[in-house]
C-alpha cells in the first residue's frame, strides 16, 4: 500500500492561505456589509446509504462561505472556502492519504480531525486593464464542450474521492494560476500559467479506492516477493515544471469554436513497477509531461445542439501486461474525441447524448486497455412546476467492458433558499471495468442545501 506524508492541522495553522480561509469562515452571516462586498454561502448535507447492506456510506455536512466584492470599477475579487465533515469517514477513512502526494504544498486541505477538513477552494482577483482581462489566483478553468467526459477539460485535476459521482464543481481541484485574456474582435485569446503542481487526487483506501486492472497495476501472477509502494518524484521546479496553456475561442457563422493547447504534466500519475535485486517489487507513481492540442465546436440547429471536441495528446502511458517489461507501462500518444447531440424538446425537457472515443495510435504491445475505447452517455432531464422540481437520469456506458453507471436524481426547490434532493447511483458490469469495480457500492442519497 502506498504511504503518503500526513497533512496535519499544525502544518496549516500558520499558513497565510489557511488564515485567509478562517477569516472567511468566521465572518458573521449576513448580506452585504459594505456597498460592494458581499458575504454569502451555502450549508448543505448529504446522506448516502448503500443498497447492498444498508450501511451508511456518507454522512456529510458542508459549509461553503463566500466573500466577493468590487474594489475599484476594474478590480473585483472572490474568496470561497469549504469546511466539510463526514460522520462515516468511509470515503477517506483515517489518514487522508493521497492529498500530500497529489497536491502542491500550497493547495492542500487542512484536516482538523480525520473526518473534518477545511479548504480554501477559490481565491482570485479579476482585473480589467484596457483590452486585457486578468484572473489571478486559485481558480477553475474549464475547456471544451463535453459534459463529464474529458478531452480538452484537462486544466484542473480532479478529486476521485467519490469516483465520478458528485458534481463536477466539487470534484475539480482549483489551481493557483494566472489567467490572461484578450479579445480581438470576435476572437478571444487566453493564456494560462499554472505554477501549482497539483494533480488528480485518487483515494488509496476507502469506498472508492480503484481496483480495476485498467487503472491499478497488478504484480506478475507468479510473483510472491514483498511489494513496496514508494513516494514518486513530483515536479517541483518553478517555471520549468509549470503548466502552460493557450486557447483561442470565437463565434463565426453561427459556430462556437475553440483551438486549445496545453503543455502540462498529466494529472494521472504513471504507476510503474520496478523489481529490485533483493526481490522487492517497488511501485512508484511518477508524473510525465504531455502536450495536448485540439479544438471544439458547437452549433444549434432548431431544437438540436451539436457539440464536438477533438484532442491529440503526446506522452500518455498505459499499463501493460508483459512480465518481461521493465516497468509495466508503455508510452503512446492518444487521440480522443467527443461528439454530443442535445435535443431540447421544450424549455423543460432535454435529451442529451455523447459518444467519447479514445485511440492509441502507437498501439503498445500488451496494453491492458484496448487500442480503441468508447463511452456513451445518455441524459434525460425534465423540469416541472415552474422549475421547482428537476428530475434527471444519466447513463454512462463503457462500450468496451460493458460496464457503466446509472444515476437518477430529483431536486425540489422548497423555498428560494432551501433545496431538497434524492438520488440513486447504480454501478453495474464486470469488476475489472472502470465502473463495474464499484458494483458493490450502489447507493441511495438524500440531501438538502440552504443558501444565504
Amino acid at each position: 500500500m502506498i504511504r503518503y506524508r500526513r497533512s496535519t492541522l499544525l502544518q496549516h495553522l500558520g499558513s497565510p492561505l489557511f488564515r485567509a480561509f478562517l477569516a472567511v469562515v468566521v465572518l458573521p452571516p449576513g448580506k452585504a456589509f459594505s456597498q460592494d462586498i458581499e458575504y454569502r454561502g451555502t450549508l448543505s448535507s448529504r446522506v448516502a446509504v448503500e443498497t447492498r447492506d444498508g450501511n451508511m456510506q456518507l454522512g456529510e455536512v458542508k459549509f461553503e462561505p463566500e466573500l466577493a466584492g468590487t474594489l475599484t470599477p476594474n478590480i473585483s475579487f472572490r474568496i470561497l472556502g469549504r469546511l466539510r465533515g463526514d460522520t462515516q469517514d468511509q470515503i477517506e477513512p483515517g489518514d487522508p492519504g493521497a492529498q500530500s502526494a497529489a497536491r502542491s504544498d500550497w493547495n492542500r486541505r487542512a484536516f482538523i480531525v480525520d473526518n473534518l477538513d477545511a479548504e480554501l477552494r477559490e481565491a482570485y482577483a479579476d482585473i480589467y486593464a484596457g483590452d486585457w482581462f486578468f484572473r489571478l489566483g486559485k481558480q477553475q478553468v474549464v475547456w471544451g464542450q463535453a459534459d463529464g467526459l474529458r478531452v480538452l477539460d484537462q486544466v484542473n485535476p480532479l478529486s476521485f474521492r467519490e469516483f465520478t459521482l458528485g458534481n463536477f464543481e466539487d470534484r475539480r481541484i482549483p489551481l493557483w494560476m494566472a489567467n490572461l485574456e484578450r479579445s480581438f474582435r470576435s476572437v478571444t485569446v487566453q493564456f494560462l500559467w499554472i505554477p501549482d503542481h497539483t494533480y488528480n487526487e485518487v483515494p488509496s483506501t476507502g469506498t472508492f479506492r480503484p481496483t480495476s486492472p485498467l487503472l491499478v497495476p497488478s504484480p506478475p501472477t507468479d510473483f510472491s516477493g514483498p511489494i513496496q509502494a514508494v513516494q514518486g518524484n513530483r515536479p517541483n521546479r518553478l517555471i520549468t515544471d509549470d503548466d502552460y496553456g493557450i486557447r483561442l475561442t470565437g463565434f463565426s457563422h453561427g459556430w462556437d469554436w475553440s483551438l486549445n493547447g496545453l503543455y502540462s504534466y498529466s494529472d494521472a500519475p504513471v504507476i510503474s513497477q520496478q523489481l529490485a535485486d533483493d526481490g522487492t517489487l517497488f511501485i512508484a507513481p511518477r508524473y510525465e509531461r504531455s502536450l495536448l492540442i485540439g479544438g471544439s465546436a458547437s452549433n444549434a440547429f432548431g431544437k438540436f445542439t451539436l457539440r464536438a471536441e477533438l484532442g491529440y495528446a503526446t506522452n500518455r502511458y498505459v499499463l501493460i501486461n508483459d512480465p518481461t517489461d521493465e516497468d509495466g507501462v508503455a508510452k503512446s500518444s492518444e487521440l480522443s474525441s467527443v461528439i454530443g447531440l442535445d435535443y431540447q424538446v421544450n424549455a423543460d425537457t432535454l435529451f442529451s447524448s455523447q459518444l467519447f472515443l479514445s485511440v492509441l495510435p502507437d498501439n503498445p504491445n500488451g496494453a491492458i486497455r484496448d487500442q480503441a475505447t468508447g463511452t456513451l452517455t445518455l441524459l434525460a432531464r425534465r423540469e416541472l412546476r415552474n422549475d421547482t422540481i428537476r428530475v434527471e437520469g444519466l447513463l454512462i456506458q463503457d462500450l468496451n467492458q460493458g460496464d457503466g453507471v446509472l444515476q437518477v436524481s430529483a431536486n425540489y426547490e422548497l423555498t428560494s433558499s432551501v433545496t431538497l434532493s434524492a438520488g440513486v447511483d447504480v454501478f453495474y458490469g464486470t469488476t475489472n471495468g472502470i465502473y463495474g469495480q464499484f458494483d458493490q457500492t450502489d447507493r441511495i442519497t438524500l440531501g438538502f442545501e440552504y443558501g444565504f
Binding site: V141, S298, Q344
Partner: protein, 264 residues
Amino acid sequence: MRLIISLLSMTCLALPAIAQDTLTGDEIVAQMNARDDGNYVTRGFSIELTDRSGKTRTEKTIAYRRYFGDEKRTIIFYTEPTRVRGTGFLTYDYADPAIDDDQWLYLPALRKVRRISASDRGDYFLGTDFTYEEIKKEQKIESEDYRFEAKGAEIIDGRELLIVEGTPLSDDISDELGLSHVVWRIDPEIWMSRKTDYYDQNGNHARTAILEGVETIDGYLTTTQIFVENHKTGHSSRITFLNTDYTTEVPESLFSQPRLRRGL
C-alpha cells in the same frame, strides 16, 4: 431612424381619442412597435414567483440590452438567490424572424458556457409565467405573426383602452407560440397593453398579463412592473424593473461569451 420613431410616437400621442377609435388593428400594433426603447439599457429584474398555495420565491437579476444595428443583444446575470447566483443568459436576437436566435447559458456549477437551442417562443422563460417571446419583445408584438383586428374600446380603471385581437397567421406560428389568439387592451397614451389575455391552442383562457407600472425614465416610456397569472396552474410571476438606466453606455464587449463566463 430612432429620431423618426420618436417623432412618430409623439405624433400618435397627440392624436385625439376619436382618431384612435378609427385605427385598424395593424395601425395600433404599429404604434406599439414604434415606441423607442433606447439604444441600450441597464436594469435590474426582481422576479417574484408565486405558486397556487401562495408560496413565493424571489429571484434577482441584472440585465443589459443593446442594439447592434437591427440586431438586439441581451445579457442577463442572476444575482439572487445564492443557488442560482452567477447563472448567465446571452441572446443574439436577429432582425430577420426567419433566423433563430443564438443563445448561450452559463451555469456556475459546470463553469462552462453552453450553447443552447432557441426555445420555442411560447416556452416559459426560466421558470416564470412569461414566455421567451414576451421577455424578448418587451411589450412589443411581432407583427408578422398575427392577423390583427381592432375590437373597439373598453374602460378599465378609468382609462379608455383599445382592444386588439391577434390570431396567428399559420398553424406553425400557433404551435410555436402555443396560442390560438391574444387580446390586447392598449392604452393609447403610452402605446402599451395594460391587460393582455392569452388563449391556448384549444381556445382556453391560459394567462392574463397586467401592466402594473409605467414611468418615463431618461425620456423613454418604461415598464417598471408587470404581472402575469397562469390560469391553468394557478402560478403567477411579477417582474419589477429596478434601477433602469438608459444613459450609461453599455459596452459592446459585454455581449460576449467571455463576459458571460466571467460574470459581473
